[in-house]
Symmetry: C2
Subunit: 156 residues, 2 copies
C-alpha cells in the first residue's frame, strides 16, 4: 500500500500569553486564534459564535521532529505510571506532532477567534477549527485508566 | 509572520466496509485502523485498550483539494440551513481536509485498532490516534445551533 506524504498549511496562529512550554494550569489561559489574513476573510468564521466550544487541531512545531516517539514511553517520565504506546497518550512527542484540544469560545472578532483553555503556546500553527458538536461525543459509556486521571489533576 | 507548510505522513490506513462517500448511518460501521508496519510495532498501541474510546484524526484524501472552501456555504447545500463559515461546520471541503471523529474502541490486535462508528471510508489515511480523555471535554455548558442537531439526526 502506498503511503504518500501530505502537505498542510496553517490556517492561522495562536496568540497566547504563554510563550514557553508548560505542563499544567491551562484552564484559565485566554488566547486568540488569528486566521491568516492573506487567505481568509471573516466569512470563514460566519456562524461560529452560535457554538459554545470549538475543537482546535494544531501542530507542536517547537517539538523537534527527530525526537518523535514511535513506540512506548512513560507519560511525563513518571515512574508511577505505566509505559504506554504513543497512541495511548496525548504527549506532543508523537508522529505528525498534532495537538487537539476542545476549548471554550469566548467570541469571534473579524479573523480573531478568542478562546479559553487552549493548551498551545504563542505562535503555534493552527491547522483546523471545528465546532464542538454534542452528537460527535461518545454514545456509549466512557472508561479510562487511572494514570491519565492522575496526570490531568492540575492540567486545567 | 511566516507561514510555512508542514509535511504529514499517514500513520496507517482505514480498512472499512464502506468504500464510497456516504453522509449518514455511520454508527454501526465497524472498521480497522491498520498502522503502517514499516514504521510501527504493536508497542505504539500498548495500553490503548484501557480506554473505551479514541479520537482519530484523518485526511479526506478523496476530496479534490481544488474544491476546498475557504469562505461560507450551506451545510449539505440545504436551503433550510444557514450559510456558515467552513470553520463553523465539519464538512470535508475544508482547508487541510482534516477529519476528526471520536469512535468506540472494540479492541487492539497487533497493529490493528478495531473501532465502531468511524466515519471514514476504506483506505482513508490516518494521521493520529489519541485516547479519549474525560478531562479534555468541555468544562462549561455546551450550546450549539439547531441546524447542526438537525443535520446529525441520521448520522449515526
Amino acid at each position: 500500500m502506498s503511503n504518500p506524504e501530505y502537505v498542510v498549511t496553517p490556517i492561522g496562529r495562536v496568540v497566547s500569553p504563554r510563550a514557553g512550554r508548560a505542563d499544567d494550569e491551562w484552564g484559565d489561559v485566554e488566547s486568540i486564534i488569528r486566521l491568516d489574513a492573506t487567505r481568509f476573510t471573516a466569512d470563514a468564521l460566519a456562524g461560529l459564535d452560535a457554538f459554545s466550544h470549538i475543537e482546535v487541531v494544531f501542530l507542536f512545531d517547537r517539538f523537534d521532529e527527530s525526537q518523535v516517539s514511535t513506540g512506548s514511553r512513560r507519560p511525563r517520565g513518571n515512574e508511577a505510571w505505566p509505559k504506554v504506546g504513543i497512541f495511548a497518550q496525548r504527549a506532543s512527542s508523537r508522529p505528525n506532532r498534532l495537538g487537539l484540544t476542545t476549548c471554550e469560545l469566548i467570541g469571534v472578532d473579524g479573523l480573531d477567534v478568542r478562546v479559553r483553555g487552549l493548551d498551545a503556546i504563542d505562535e503555534t500553527p493552527v491547522l483546523d477549527i471545528k465546532p464542538f458538536v454534542l452528537e460527535f461525543q461518545p454514545r456509549s459509556a466512557v472508561r479510562q485508566p487511572a494514570w491519565i486521571s492522575e496526570l490531568m489533576v492540575d492540567y486545567w
